[in-house]
Each structure stands twice: as structure tokens, then as C-alpha cells.
């Protein structure tokens, strides 16, 4: 009734989208083939154990397997948002030690730094997981509508406008084209708000959760800066977008967001945009592929990173200010419990080759962790994203990872609750952030206790 393991297979968790490109129907290209081509032992085949796509459920699956010491899976695919906690719990294999040094070096050199950070041990800096693909947050807009409304958008792709310009342009375009919505984004009380959309907005306002980007991965002794004026202003701006001129808003920022964004996540915010009912939308790279095709908006789709309000120079902390793109993506970690460790490491090594990255990108549309490869990819295969290689480049340069420490999950919940409440007007931004700061401080304090 149960199934014994087949020899020489390495079981790796992944969602159906990855499974779909793993094997070819006939002789067509496949990731498995690419792995073999990249030097993986032909005896070793990779078997995908599909898991639910939802990140939270995947974490639970991973957690239950690792807590129970269960194999397979030999390789766990971990969200960049929650790789670090597993590393801290010694539930991953130290790749820096296990990999041949040349591979380690190659990864260190060519991979997007931001994503690598999410796969390192925060204390030792050792690599414990191999990024499979990063994901980046983009602002999608209807170039045609905005231009019709009289705003020049050329150059936005590499140099996004200020929030003020953007908001005015969106409002004009919306009113001009008589659309239902202006700008749609995600502001529901969920991980996506704290890790990404708010993180981006806050960053473009020169704010930060923990006083800059160098303190992201080491909980404990670090400043809490969520009650900073910049952060509060960022909220106020969003409040203006949502509610127009009312309490706790900022002058000069028109109402452009539907009030329902406070209960929206990716799908809900993309739908109106994709249906042509919104001017702009903040979303992940998959949205480019979905709306940039010729059948959809084609050339009319504009893609850029986030508008900004405070330039990097004006920002008080290191690494914030200016445009920003939230960092998502997935890493591969080898289970410490596997008896097929060597084989698993071989698989990972193969994944670290450019060929495989490209294959993954071309077949599945997943950005390669070495973003230089975006430009190298065959546009035929990768679709609309190729057209926006510049924007992708800017995004990779301005990528903001979430502070994914072992405490992040609980802090994230505190943050998105507070921000969502402030967005909704259920609490005043400053008060909400003050309370949040207090709660975060308490949370951080736990680490010091634990750490000692």
C-alpha cells in the first residue's frame, strides 16, 4: 500500500508549475534533460513531489517533514521568505562546506546578492540553500492610457517617476479613459503586505523596519524604526491613494486605489488590470507574462519598479530610498536527513549552471538567479519579460529582501496587521506604528533571551 523508494531518484518538492517543466512530453527540452546535460549523473533522476503552491502550506509541509526527520523529500524547495528559520534550526545542509569550492565561488559571484542573502546562515554567512529563482515586484501600467492622459512615460522603465507624478498620471488616465480603477495593489493583512508591497512603499519613502538593509537577517540587537516619520508618511500616502482627502493622508496625493485593496492579494489586484479596468498594478513577474502578450496589452504594457518619494541620498538609512522592488523567490535546500546526500548535492550543483537556469527561465518563465541571463535568453521562449529586461535589471539592483530571520513570521504578522489597520483607517498611522514598534521590540527581546 505504501511505496518503497526507487533507487537513484532524488525527490524534490515543488509546485505543479515546476513539475510541468521537469519532464518533457517527447523529445522536447526539459529541466531533467538540462540537468543531465549540465553534468548530473545520468543514473540520477529527479522526481518532483508536488506540493500545494500556497507558500504557507508549503512551509507546513516542509516543517512537518523536517521535524519528523522524514525523507523523502531529499531536497526541499523553500520560499526565500522562510529559508532562514530552517537554516537556524539546523534543518539544512551547509552548502558552503558540502559544495566544491568552485561551485560556491560561482554562486557567490554570479547570483543576485539579495536572494543569496535569504539562503545564508545569518551568523556564519555560509550558504545553506541554493536559490532556484528569484522573483521581483513590478509596477505594471497602461502606457497607452497614461500617454493619452498627457504624461510621458518614456524612461519610466529605468527611472521610475515620483509617487506624486505617478499618482497624478494614473488619476488622469483613469478619469480620461473612464475606468473603474486607477492603481491596484495588494494590501490585505497577509505576508505579502509586510514582506513586499509595504516594504517597497516604505523603502521608496526612505523608511525601514530595522534601520536599513544591513540588519535584515540578524534579529536581536537592532534598531526598530517602524515608527519613523518616513514610514508613517508612506502609510499616509497609501491612505491618500485609498481614501482621498480625509484624516491621516498626505496632501498632493490623489485617490487612485480602490478601497478594496485592503482585502486584496495578487490575484484580485491583477484581475481588474488584466481585464482593462485599471491603469496600473503592482505585481510579480508572472503578471508581465500574463498581461504583456500580444493578445493582452502587448506593447501598451509598461513595466517599471516602484515610483519613489525620497531619493537614496535623502534617506536616513543605508540601502533605502529611491525605487525598490520586493524580492521573492525560492531556494533549494538539502535535507540533513537524506541518505542520498551526494546525489542531492549533485542535483543542486547542476541547478547552479547557467544552462539549467536558462532552461528553467525559458520553459517556466522563472527568472534566473543570475539576472544577467535574462538578456541572454531567447525572447521567443521567455515571452514578454524579455522586452522588459531593463526593468528587471533595475529591479534586481534595487531588490529589497524581507528581514527573514527566525522571528520574521511572527513579526510579519504584527506588521501586516498594523499596516492594514492603518490603511483602512481603523487606526491612526503614527499610533499604529508606535504600537507596532513596541510589539516588535518585545519580539526582538525574545531572541536576546533565547540567544543567551
Amino acid at each position: 500500500l505504501g511505496q518503497a523508494r526507487e533507487p537513484n531518484t532524488i525527490v524534490m518538492t515543488a509546485a505543479t508549475d515546476v513539475e510541468g517543466i521537469m519532464y518533457a512530453d517527447g523529445d522536447g527540452p526539459s529541466v531533467q534533460q538540462a540537468l543531465w546535460d549540465a553534468g548530473l549523473d545520468e543514473d540520477i533522476s529527479v522526481e518532483i513531489q508536488t506540493v500545494v503552491s500556497d507558500s504557507a502550506s508549503r512551509m507546513q509541509t516542509t516543517q512537518s517533514a523536517l521535524e519528523a526527520g522524514r525523507v523523502p523529500p531529499d531536497i526541499h524547495m523553500m520560499d526565500s521568505g522562510w529559508t532562514v528559520p530552517f537554516i537556524l534550526r539546523d534543518q539544512t545542509v551547509n552548502l558552503t562546506e558540502a559544495f566544491p569550492s568552485d561551485v560556491v565561488e560561482r554562486v557567490d559571484d554570479t547570483y543576485l546578492d539579495a536572494i543569496l542573502e535569504t539562503a545564508r546562515h545569518p551568523e556564519t554567512g555560509d550558504l545553506h540553500a541554493l536559490p532556484l529563482f528569484p522573483d521581483l515586484g513590478f509596477t505594471l501600467y497602461r502606457r497607452d492610457l497614461i500617454e493619452d492622459a498627457g504624461q510621458d512615460t518614456s524612461g519610466w522603465e529605468t527611472e521610475p517617476p515620483t509617487w506624486e507624478t505617478f499618482a497624478t498620471a494614473v488619476r488622469d488616465a483613469r478619469d480620461g479613459a473612464d475606468l473603474d480603477y486607477g492603481f491596484t495593489t495588494q494590501a490585505a493583512a497577509y505576508e505579502g503586505l509586510s514582506c513586499c508591497t509595504f516594504n517597497e512603499v516604505m523603502t521608496t519613502w526612505g523608511g525601514a523596519y530595522y534601520g536599513g538593509t544591513d540588519t535584515l537577517f540578524a534579529a536581536g540587537d537592532r534598531p526598530i524604526t517602524v515608527d519613523d516619520e518616513r514610514v508613517v508618511d508612506a502609510i499616509r500616502m497609501m491612505r491618500s491613494f485609498i481614501a482621498g482627502e480625509t484624516e491621516n493622508t498626505l496632501d498632493g496625493y490623489p485617490q487612485i486605489c480602490p478601497s478594496a485593496i485592503v482585502q486584496w492579494t495578487e490575484q484580485e489586484s491583477l484581475d481588474p488590470f488584466a481585464a482593462g479596468e485599471a491603469v496600473a498594478n503592482r505585481n510579480w513577474s508572472f503578471a508581465i507574462a500574463a498581461t504583456g502578450t500580444e493578445e493582452a496589452f502587448g506593447e501598451d504594457l509598461g513595466v517599471m519598479t516602484r515610483p519613489y518619494a525620497v531619493s537614496p541620498g535623502e534617506a536616513a538609512y543605508e540601502g533605502v530610498g529611491g525605487t525598490a522592488a520586493a524580492l521573492g523567490g525560492w531556494n533549494l535546500a538539502v535535507s540533513p536527513f537524506t541518505e542520498r546526500r551526494e546525489e542531492a548535492l549533485q542535483v543542486l550543483e547542476a541547478f547552479a549552471t547557467e544552462e539549467v537556469m536558462l532552461t528553467v527561465f525559458e520553459l517556466g518563465g522563472f527568472l534566473p538567479p543570475n539576472l544577467d541571463l535574462v538578456a541572454e535568453a531567447d525572447p521567443e521562449d521567455v515571452g514578454p519579460v524579455a522586452r522588459y529586461a531593463d526593468a528587471v535589471q533595475v529591479a534586481s539592483e534595487n531588490a529589497v529582501p524581507r528581514p527573514a530571520t527566525d522571528l520574521w513570521p511572527e513579526q510579519s504578522a504584527l506588521i501586516y496587521q498594523a499596516v492594514n489597520a492603518a490603511y483602512r483607517g481603523a487606526s491612526a498611522p503614527q499610533a499604529a506604528m508606535n504600537d507596532l514598534a513596541e510589539e516588535l521590540e518585545q519580539s526582538e527581546a525574545e531572541v536576546e533571551v533565547d540567544g543567551s
Binding site: A56, M59, Q60, Q63, E67, W82, P85, L88, R89, D90, Q91, A188, A189, Y190, P258, S259, A260, I261, V262, Q263, E268, D271, P272, D406, L407, W408, P409, E410, A413, L414, Y416, Q417, N420, R424, A426, Q442, S443, E446, V447, D450
Partner: protein, 346 residues
């Protein structure tokens, strides 16, 4: 005929005796001759064996976990023995939870208790309110549905299926239906309620509105549970009692009150008991509609602590036991309240 029976009778006699021996193998005999109490324990054995392995033993272990310290790092998830510290944290609002179990403080003004956070963001209150209101509505509606299904009319079997169907919907889908219904771009629920002046523009993000949505969703689905059990109770009532009552002059309402209700009471109580416990453990529905931070329930806290990513198993275990304690208190109330009505059940 008489003569013929004579023979039957003789042959029959021997067969009966044989028959008796045939049914009487040793195990059966042993069981038959056990005392009533011993026999009862024997019958309970399989159930309690299974429950001990799958339920009681794990709960015991979970309880032990709740007495230890959280360890968020390292292989070992649990630290030292800290006795009731986790419980104290939970009750004082100091647990590492996004929403607190309970967050009240004392004040000098009437009514002397102040909520630290709004009512609908306190897990305990949300859970109690939810259980109270949902079970109340579900009982009434479920009774109504069962009563309808108990009547004889054409197409009754289809109506029965229709009414029971919501219970067959997975919670995720139940959540999805109501999530989409109240998603302004997709469904009309949000607009409708807003135009009636009942809801805000983003009801799923507003604790109060979302609470109502979850209530509606739960009532939609779980009334069927009530209906099914009550219907079974109704079907078991001896119909001749209604004849007696009708001749005695009972109106339909009196028949209901004096015959149906008391006779269905045991089934009704079981239904209410389990609905209450289920309602007090509500989680999936919330998770798939408004989310646990908008409408935190006690189970939400348990799940978030257990699976939230920060490894705070001890807290999770403590919240689970606290939740069980709250449910136990409420159920204890039930049992006391309905001691007599429930007949010899309790």
C-alpha cells in the same frame, strides 16, 4: 394436519437443541455470561484503544510540551521546563502571538474592565461570540429544515439532498465561495450589503463585517449538520404518539412543544454539543475568507503558533490546552444545564 405436525415436532425438537449448540461457541458464551459491567467495558475496549493511541496519548504529550520553553533555533524545538509560564503569558496578553487570546486590563471606571484591543480582535471573545450566535441560528434553522424534511411531499428526497449538500462542501470551498461573494470586483455581496448600509467597502478586511460574513458562511454550511441530526431524531419518534396527541386536541405547535421537542431533545443536544465545540474550534473558514488576523479565533492562534513559521510549539500547545479548557467550561455548562433533559445520556 395434526398427524403431520406430530412428526415435525419430534424432528424439530432435536434441531432446536442442535441449533443451540451451534450458536454457542466458547467466545460467544463467555461474552454472554459476562456481567453487565464487564460486558460494557469489553465493548468499550476497541473505541478506547483507538482513542488512547490517536488522541489521549498525543494530548498528553502535547500537554508536556506546553510546559516547556520555546526554542526557535536549533534542531531541538523545546527548551527547559517552565511550568505554567506559557499559560501565564497567554492569559496576560504577552504571548508571541499576532492576536492575543485575551487582552483586557482593569480600569477604575465602570465597567472596570477595559479591552486592550477591540472586541473583535480578541480571540476569546470572537470565538465565544461566534459560537453563541452561530449555534443559535443553526439550531433554529436546522430545526426548521429538519421539520420541512420530516414532512411528506413530492420531491422530498431531492430537497433533502439539497439541504444537506452544503455540509458536503469542503471548508476551503465554502470559504472560497464567500470570499469571492464579498470580493467587490467579483461578487455582489459586498455591494449589496454596502448599499444596505451594513458593511464597509472592504468587508473582508474589517473585523466586524468579516465576522458577519463568516457567521453567514458557517450558518449556511452547518445548519445542514443540525438538520441532519435533528431529522434523524424526528424520524425516530413513534408516529402513534402524534395520533394520541392529535386526538387529545394538540395543535401543531403543541405537538411540537410537548411531543417532538422532548423526544428529539437527546439528538438535538448532541447536535448542539458538537456544533458548539466545532464552532469554538473554527479556523479553516476564517483562514479561507477574511484571514486570521482580521477575525482571530482561538484555533487561529493555535495554528499560527504551531505553523506560523516561528517555531513556538510550547506556546501553541499551551494555547491549544487553554482553548480546550474554555471549550470544556462551556460544555460543562451544557452538561449541567441539560442534565435532566438529556435523559440518561449524561
Amino acid at each position: 394436519m395434526a398427524a403431520e405436525t406430530d412428526e415435525d415436532i419430534v424432528s424439530e425438537r432435536s434441531t432446536e437443541t442442535e441449533g443451540r449448540q451451534r450458536t454457542g461457541n466458547a467466545v460467544v458464551n463467555w461474552m454472554e455470561n459476562l456481567s453487565e459491567a464487564a460486558y460494557a467495558y469489553l465493548l468499550l475496549l476497541p473505541a478506547f484503544a483507538l482513542l488512547s493511541l490517536i488522541a489521549f496519548y498525543p494530548l498528553l504529550r502535547t500537554f508536556v510540551i506546553s510546559l516547556r520553553e520555546n526554542e526557535t533555533r536549533g534542531m531541538e524545538p523545546l527548551g527547559e521546563f517552565v511550568a505554567a509560564e506559557n499559560y501565564v503569558d497567554i492569559l496576560t496578553g504577552n504571548a508571541r502571538l499576532a492576536r492575543q487570546f485575551l487582552d483586557v486590563s482593569f480600569s477604575s471606571s465602570v465597567p472596570f474592565l477595559e479591552l486592550g484591543t477591540p472586541f473583535f480582535q480578541q480571540a476569546l471573545f470572537v470565538t465565544l461570540a461566534f459560537a453563541l450566535v452561530s449555534v443559535l441560528f443553526e439550531t433554529v434553522i436546522g430545526f426548521g429544515q429538519a421539520y420541512v424534511l420530516d414532512q411528506d411531499f413530492r420531491g422530498r428526497r431531492w430537497v433533502r439532498v439539497a439541504i444537506i449538500l452544503p455540509w458536503a462542501v469542503p471548508i476551503v470551498i465554502q470559504g472560497m465561495i464567500f470570499y469571492l461573494l464579498f470580493q467587490p470586483t467579483v461578487g455582489f455581496g459586498s455591494d449589496l450589503m454596502q448599499s444596505l448600509g451594513l458593511f464597509s467597502s472592504a468587508p473582508l478586511a474589517n473585523s466586524q463585517d468579516a465576522f458577519v460574513i463568516i457567521l453567514i458562511a458557517d450558518i449556511w454550511k452547518s445548519s445542514a449538520f443540525m438538520a441532519l441530526l435533528i431529522l434523524a431524531g424526528l424520524q425516530s419518534v413513534d408516529r402513534s404518539l402524534y395520533d394520541v396527541a392529535r386526538v387529545a386536541g394538540a395543535s401543531p405547535w403543541q405537538r411540537f412543544k410537548l411531543i417532538t421537542l422532548p423526544l428529539v431533545m437527546p439528538a438535538l443536544l448532541v447536535a448542539m454539543l458538537f456544533r458548539t465545540m466545532d464552532a469554538m474550534r473554527v479556523f479553516g473558514l476564517i483562514e479561507s475568507t477574511a484571514g486570521c488576523s482580521t477575525v482571530p479565533s482561538l484555533s487561529c492562534l493555535v495554528v499560527e503558533a504551531m505553523f506560523g513559521g516561528t517555531r513556538i510549539y510550547a506556546t501553541a500547545a499551551a494555547v491549544a490546552f487553554s482553548t480546550a479548557l474554555v471549550i470544556g467550561l462551556i460544555i460543562g455548562g451544557y452538561v449541567l444545564l441539560f442534565r435532566d433533559t438529556g435523559g440518561d445520556l449524561y
